[in-house]
């Protein structure tokens, strides 16, 4: 366990000291300030909205901005996960570390834990800042912010676990690109599936369901959106929710959460096996 924690600490320090953190911080601040400006405009320009309508607008834009944040978290962690295994093998940094009396599984688990801490920490800080901005500018406070942020963090964890697996088999840059590509593809499949549902087309709807099973990022994201929306909106504006990419009508099921958990464990185990067999 000591080795795992040492490596986790090292990974966190790497994340903190690499340029990736600075770029993340810049992107986040940019997004947060843009959203602060945008939210203040919603109130100023649409003074004629009913309270329900302005709530819907706030929830919608909040989800939109949260999607931006989750994208930043996904990009950041995926591009951190890549270099951490494949990059260290390529450069030779891994040689001296793995020649120590450590099991490779311990090293991988430590890296995963460090990345989880980093991804979750980022989501918590940036997400909370966003919620406060919305509260100040529009007065809107989501019904279940903690669950929402936790699900966003879970989404980042899912993606970085995939990034870790990819980086044990392919090059660092490729693993980041593939992970982010899959993330985007699942999101689009989710949107397509939502449209299928709205149109009553079952086979199109299935695209979303299957992709949400294969890579749970989109499913978790939809759960997070749900937690950021006021529940009264759903009954008031049920039509708006049909097939909308930034509104979610169905809550997450426990079974799906368990599947996401199992998915992460399975992918991490696969990454461990691949890393164990890899020649340095």
């Amino acid at each position: 366990m000591r080795i795992v924690l040492t490596v986790a600490g090292l990974t966190l320090r790497e994340a903190a000291r690499r340029r990736v953190l600075r770029s993340l911080a810049v992107l986040t601040i940019l997004l947060l300030s843009l959203s602060a400006w945008g939210f203040s405009r919603i109130n100023a320009e649409y003074g004629g909205l009913t309270s329900g309508e302005s709530k819907l607008a706030a929830a919608l834009v909040l989800n939109l901005v949260m999607f931006g944040l989750s994208l930043i978290a996904a990009l950041g962690t995926a591009f951190l996960a890549g270099p951490t295994v494949a990059g260290e093998s390529e450069s030779g940094i891994a040689l001296a570390v793995l020649a120590r009396p450590v099991r490779r599984v311990q090293v991988l688990l430590g890296k995963w834990l460090g990345l989880v801490g980093f991804g979750a920490g980022f989501v918590a800080v940036a997400g909370a800042a966003q919620l406060v901005i919305v509260k100040i500018t529009t007065g809107y406070w989501p019904p279940d912010p903690v669950t929402g942020l936790a699900l966003l963090a879970a989404q980042a964890v899912t993606l970085l676990t995939l990034g870790l697996l990819l980086s044990t088999v392919i090059s660092p840059m490729a693993s980041g690109v593939v992970a982010v590509g899959l993330f985007g593809a699942t999101w689009i499949a989710g949107v397509v599936g939502g449209l299928g549902k709205a149109l009553g087309n079952e086979s199109v709807e299935r695209i979303g369901t299957v992709s949400q099973m294969l890579l749970p990022t989109d499913g978790l994201w939809r759960g997070a959106m749900r937690a950021f929306q006021d529940p009264s909106l759903l009954s008031q504006f049920s039509e708006a929710f049909e097939g909308h990419p930034f509104l979610s009508s169905a809550p997450l099921t426990v079974v799906y959460l368990l599947w996401a958990l199992l998915w992460v464990a399975l992918v991490l185990a696969l990454a461990g096996l691949a890393f164990q067999r890899r020649d340095q």
Partner: protein, 298 residues
């Protein structure tokens, strides 16, 4: 202390269609300094990586300090400087050493870690990020990493490839001090002079196999010492024993380089002025070339 520092038996590794290592067997005794020699592509680095669990052998067994190589704890007292030496660029030199003592689960006081940096000439760079280090400085840091966790076996893969002549001399001194402290060393180096000066024994690899191995005396036969002397008295000549003259040089056969200081001291005591002392060095290179060329012919 009966088990050797390194025991490798029947190591094999194939990369695609190329048999990189083909049945390599050798040992390094406790406190012994062994040189691993051979041409490029002979499989030296692959053998070293298999010893340390970095590459999975297709066949064969490894024991390090009496434990099977499959057990990570076999590496608890092993220091390693890879041929491809790179350390976390976002850490400082001192932090890299701290990391490695933690990974080795060895409690080494801060002062001792700092001393280790001093040993490789990096004492005043302890707080600097590794990312700003030159190649030579990174290799020096690599040496400190290999030495910091109080190893009983040190594996050095081309430890002087990026070093200037002063750095090379420092490494030689380090190796000699390791030998004095009875730390076993496995040294892969192209610099035959380096190997000849510090190694008790050499293992010569060629195309994935052990071409030959043995002590330097065994491999080279008797060594020579070339002395440029002045004022040689009959007593001094008697002390030199059987010798031949080459111009103003006296060429004396010797069994062991350790005899040199005593011989010189006694010559001086006998009133001889000693201008130069050169151990015959070229012979290991010749021997190595013979072996490799012989292998090619067969």
């Amino acid at each position: 202390m009966s088990s050797p520092a390194v025991w490798a038996s029947g190591l094999r590794k194939r990369y695609g269609r190329r048999q990189a290592v083909d049945g390599v067997t050798f040992t390094v005794g406790r406190g012994e300094v062994v040189g691993l020699l051979g041409p490029n592509g002979a499989g030296k680095t692959t053998v070293i990586k298999m010893l340390l669990g970095l590459v999975r052998p297709d066949a064969g067994e490894v024991m390090l300090l009496g434990r099977p190589g499959t057990d990570p704890q076999s590496r608890a007292q092993v220091g390693y400087l890879p041929e491809l030496f790179r350390y976390q660029p976002w850490l400082t030199a001192a932090e890299v050493l701290r990391l490695h003592t933690r990974l080795a689960s060895t409690a080494v006081p801060e002062a001792e870690q700092h001393e280790c940096l001093g040993l490789v000439g990096l004492a005043d760079r302890a707080g600097d990020r590794v990312g700003g280090f030159s190649k030579g400085m990174q290799q020096r840091l690599g040496l400190a990493v290999a030495l910091v966790a109080r190893p009983r076996l040190v594996v050095l893969d081309e430890p002087t490839s990026a070093l200037d002549p002063i750095g090379r001399a420092d490494v030689r001194d380090l190796l000699l001090s390791l030998r004095e402290r009875e730390v076993a060393v496995l040294l892969n180096s192209h610099l035959i002079g380096e190997v000849e000066r510090v190694c008790d024994r050499v293992v010569i690899l060629d195309r994935g196999r052990v071409a030959t191995s043995g002590t330097l005396a065994e491999l080279l036969g008797q060594r020579e010492l070339r002395l440029r002397l002045d004022g040689v008295t009959p007593e001094a000549e008697a002390r030199l024993g059987e010798h031949r003259r080459e111009g103003d040089m006296f060429v004396v056969p010797i069994g062991d380089l350790d005899e040199v200081p005593d011989l010189v001291a006694e010559l001086v005591k006998l009133g001889v002025r000693v201008h130069a002392v050169e151990p015959g060095r070229i012979t290991l290179e010749e021997r190595l070339l013979d072996i490799i060329r012989g292998g090619e012919d067969s």
